[in-house]
């Protein structure tokens, strides 16, 4: 009987079950090969809207984007625009961004701050909790038309670990029941103390799931991102599946790929990572196999120096990327110093386009000697104080997102994959165990769409 070798790729074989590094029990998602129409059919896109997008919890923004009463952030989901606003009591509410009078959009910016919402068409006003507080020339409107008490249409909204989630389904289960990640998983990273220092929305010529699929595996690194092979072990990635379509990859950083026969000699990438961690050249370890541990020790020292409280992290968390997928359309690359929050947003009209929406989150450290790690890719001169929320940068179709070499490589590749998937010669993806997160994600999607396969027909965990 064939034994899955990837299940033996463990980041920490000694981790107890209550350790967040512990390998999760495997889930049998079957061996389906999905018809490729899901990547380009307009009918499939419509079913995703009807059955999935309108029924799932989705990340609308982060809490530090709306710190004070009246601060709002807009979440665009296909043709919908949703405004998420901080209330006077500190809670967060979400509304469709539409005036009850004539349907004009209430707010026009990605983010802002108001005492109340005033429609720019006829000046109807709404309080932060959605109640209509002014109808201009009310006496000129037949009261029968106002008896339903017009107000903003509210949407389910909950916060968790510094993240604001919305759900268009009034009857959806509470977020805590739908979020498949264990308690403490996201909280450890204290996202509520991180601030967005760069936000890019880039349009790519591919289906949103083509994007998710690419970012959910490291199998392609050797081919698409060969420069990562000197510092990232794609053959040692621990893959874990969680309930409700969530999953993760623990990607060891500070080690060479096992594809390289020379595991001893240092290279420029490893030396760069050590320098970034504050290790002086004369203190570099002698072999590449000692680098990851040396970086972990250096980060512990840095934590003590700047009061970063890294005691809450395992050694692995200090070096590795905890690439965590939250169904349906999110992957967060979690690091102690910051996070990369990626949302794969469907195009409102075309199934073969999506928006790669990525926020770089940094935990500000108020010490002039502390430097944001260079590998986080924050451009020179970026304000990382957390006091200035940058505008979202919009990158049109066909232009590279300029988010660094790796992401530019992905943006070049995905349109080619999308074209191939559309071919009559393609019969559906053959996913290996390095790609098991993809099957888990698609099976969960199919549960929403009512397309349960034999293996997937098991109840969602």
């Amino acid at each position: 009987m064939w034994k899955n070798p990837v299940d033996q790729w463990l980041i920490n074989p000694l981790a107890n079950a209550d350790n967040l590094e512990a390998k999760q029990p495997s889930i049998d998602n079957g061996l389906n090969i999905y018809p490729p129409g899901r990547y380009y059919d307009k009918e499939f896109m419509q079913r995703e809207w009807d059955c999935m997008w309108t029924r799932t919890w989705q990340i609308a923004c982060i809490e530090t984007d709306i710190p004070e009463s009246g601060d709002y952030s807009v979440y665009r989901l296909l043709h919908e625009s949703i405004v998420v606003v901080r209330q006077d009591d500190g809670s967060v509410k979400a509304f469709y961004n539409v005036c009850a009078h004539r349907g004009n959009q209430l707010v026009h910016n990605d983010r802002g701050s108001v005492m109340q919402f005033t429609c720019s068409f006829h000046s109807w006003q709404y309080s932060l909790n959605g109640e209509c507080t002014r109808i201009t020339d009310r006496e000129t409107i037949n009261p029968a038309l106002l008896c339903s008490n017009p107000k903003l249409t509210e949407i389910r909204c909950e916060t968790h670990a510094g993240i604001v989630f919305i759900n268009l389904d009034d009857n959806a289960a509470p977020l805590v029941e739908q979020l498949g990640l264990p308690a403490g998983y996201l909280e450890t990273y204290q996202l509520e103390r991180m601030h967005c220092v760069r936000h890019v929305v880039s349009e790519w010529a591919a289906n949103w799931k083509t994007g998710v699929d690419a970012f959910y595996e490291t199998y392609h690194l050797h081919a698409v991102h060969p420069e990562t092979q000197d510092v990232m072990d794609d053959m040692g990635v621990q893959v874990d599946l969680y309930p409700h379509g969530c999953s993760r990859m623990l990607v060891p950083i500070g080690v060479k790929t096992q594809r390289q026969s020379d595991q001893d000699s240092l290279n420029a990438s490893l030396e760069y990572m050590m320098t970034e961690a504050g290790i002086a050249k004369e203190e570099f370890p002698k072999t590449a196999q000692q680098v990851r541990g040396a970086i972990q020790q250096a980060k512990r020292k840095r934590s003590a120096k700047y009061n970063l409280d890294y005691e809450r992290f395992t050694d692995g968390q200090l070096t590795d990327s905890w690439a965590t997928g939250i169904f349906p359309n999110v992957q967060i690359g979690l690091h102690p110093e910051g996070a990369f929050l990626m949302r794969f947003m469907p195009h409102p009209t075309y199934p073969q386009r999506f928006f790669y929406d990525t926020m770089t989150l940094i935990r500000p450290v108020p010490d002039p000697n502390y430097k944001t790690p260079g590998w986080m890719g924050v451009p020179e001169g970026t304000d990382v104080s957390g006091e200035i929320r940058p505008d979202t940068e919009y990158v049109p179709l066909g232009e590279p997102p300029h988010l660094g070499q790796v992401l530019d490589q992905d943006s070049e590749l995905l349109p080619l994959v999308q074209k191939g998937v559309r071919s009559r010669g393609f019969k559906g993806a053959i996913w290996g165990e390095q790609e098991q997160r993809l099957r888990h994600f698609h099976n969960e999607l199919d549960r929403y769409l009512g397309e349960e396969t034999d293996a997937a027909s098991k109840p969602s965990l």
Partner: protein
């Protein structure tokens, strides 16, 4: 040759960090904004629907119109967010003996 006309507006400590105050000087309504201990002077009227900013909010270098949410950069008055599309006027500022002074010579009336 351009002639400046710096007018004393207020004491620096009268404006809190990350806050702004409105002043009427010689018939001109203007805002003095303070961020990172720098002071900026802009006209107190949105270029979209001509609302005053008195009840607006300031975040970083950005001021937001309280009526429809248009945003402007306090450093130069440039429009940074809809529904406005035109800038507002900004005025040179200097600090003299703890007092904020603004050069209002270039002020032009908005034609509504």
């Amino acid at each position: 040759m351009k002639v400046s006309n710096f007018v004393t507006i207020a004491a620096t400590e009268s404006i809190e960090e990350k806050r702004f105050c409105a002043f009427n000087i010689n018939g001109i309504s203007l805002l003095i904004c303070r961020f990172r201990d720098q002071y900026y002077a802009i006209e107190n009227m949105c270029s979209h629907a001509y609302s005053r900013f008195d009840d607006g909010r300031m975040r970083g270098y950005r001021i937001m119109c309280p009526l429809h949410g248009a945003t402007f950069d306090i450093r130069d008055g440039s429009c940074t967010g809809p529904p406005a599309s035109r800038p507002i006027q900004s005025f040179p500022v200097r600090i003299e003996n703890g007092m904020i002074e603004a050069d209002l010579n270039d002020h032009t009336e908005i034609k509504i």
